[in-house]
């Protein structure tokens, strides 16, 4: 199965990289961009008997290593 994991900064954490990206987009003429939040995308192949089991394991991986829960949120999507 393929797991797609998004890791983003929590809403109450400032994202200076996002602000700089937003400014650069505006300077390219994308005036309608209001806010940019950047993050990480991790794709991993995992052997599992069920989607539920794979999702549970990926949540565990995020809590133990992939995300820093003090500053980051994560979401997991499993595809067959």
């Amino acid at each position: 199965m393929l797991a797609k994991i998004h890791i983003t900064l929590k809403k109450d954490v400032l994202d200076p990289q996002g602000s700089v990206i937003a400014n650069s987009l505006k300077s390219l003429g994308f005036d309608n961009v209001n806010d940019v939040r950047q993050g990480k995308f991790i794709e991993l192949e995992i052997n599992s008997n069920s989607k539920e089991e794979a999702e549970k394991q990926c949540n565990d991986m995020c809590e133990k290593l992939l995300a820093n829960l003090v500053i980051e949120d994560y979401s997991v999507e499993i595809e067959n």
């Binding site: 109450d12 954490v13 400032l14 200076p16 990289q17 700089v20 290593l65 992939l66 820093n68 003090v70 500053i71």
Partner: protein
């Protein structure tokens, strides 16, 4: 005094801190490779600065899963003094020994220059000889963050070790190099036997360095 310095692939301040320990504390530290699994008996463990594992994923995240870290955590929980400097601070945070997070500097630039810090709690094994001190920082991710509940807890338990300040000891926005919340440059664990700090005392430990203010942290450990 039996001392240990942990060495990860990418550590680059391990020898500097070993020289400081040798010259100030008078103990020849054992250099411990990250794949070793035990530190039997120690009076001080230092997790040095550098770029362990190339800062992959997040600074310190990979190193915090190294075999040796289990033993560092066990020793810390037994009360052995553990000190993390710069990347070592990031590793101690990622391993859960210290609270909060170290994010990218608010300026988005790597900063390498002298700064001034002030000890916030001078009743600990690491800071009992500390005063306002000048020493270098050299980091890209030193922007300390903790949410408001955690900050309150850290403050209530006197866990702030150092804060960035100006020459007069005033803690203000101007003296904050990296955007750290409340100018925090270093923190302790609850029982104050674990210290993490972004500034490098080992790089300001002899007159040949141009400044030896960093000595007071190592001298504190002697008393």
């Amino acid at each position: 005094m039996k001392t240990h310095v942990i060495v990860f692939p990418g550590s680059n301040c391990d020898r500097d801190v070993a020289v400081a320990i040798q010259n100030i504390i008078g103990s020849s530290p054992e250099m411990v490779w990250h794949k070793d699994s035990t530190i039997n008996q120690s009076d001080l463990i230092v997790v040095p600065g550098g770029f362990s594992y190339g800062d992959y994923l997040r600074c310190g995240a990979m190193a915090s899963t190294s075999p040796i870290m289990k033993s560092v955590i066990e020793n810390a929980n037994k009360g052995v003094p553990v000190m993390g400097i710069c990347n070592g601070f990031q590793i101690l945070i990622e391993s859960g020994l210290l609270q909060g997070a170290l994010m990218r500097n608010s300026s988005l630039s790597f900063i390498c220059r002298d700064i001034i810090i002030k000890p916030t709690n001078t009743k600990t094994i690491f800071t009992n000889k500390s005063t306002i001190s000048k020493m270098p920082i050299a980091h890209n991710e030193g922007n300390y963050f903790a949410n408001s509940n955690q900050i309150k807890e850290i403050e209530d338990n006197d866990q702030i070790a150092f804060q960035y300040c100006d020459e007069n000891g005033d803690i203000n926005a101007h003296s904050n190099p990296n955007g750290s919340i409340n100018n925090i440059a270093g923190v302790f664990n609850k029982s104050k036997n674990v210290l993490g700090m972004m500034p490098h005392p080992e790089r300001a430990a002899e007159s040949i360095h141009g400044c030896d203010d960093g000595r007071n942290i190592f001298e504190s450990l002697l008393s």
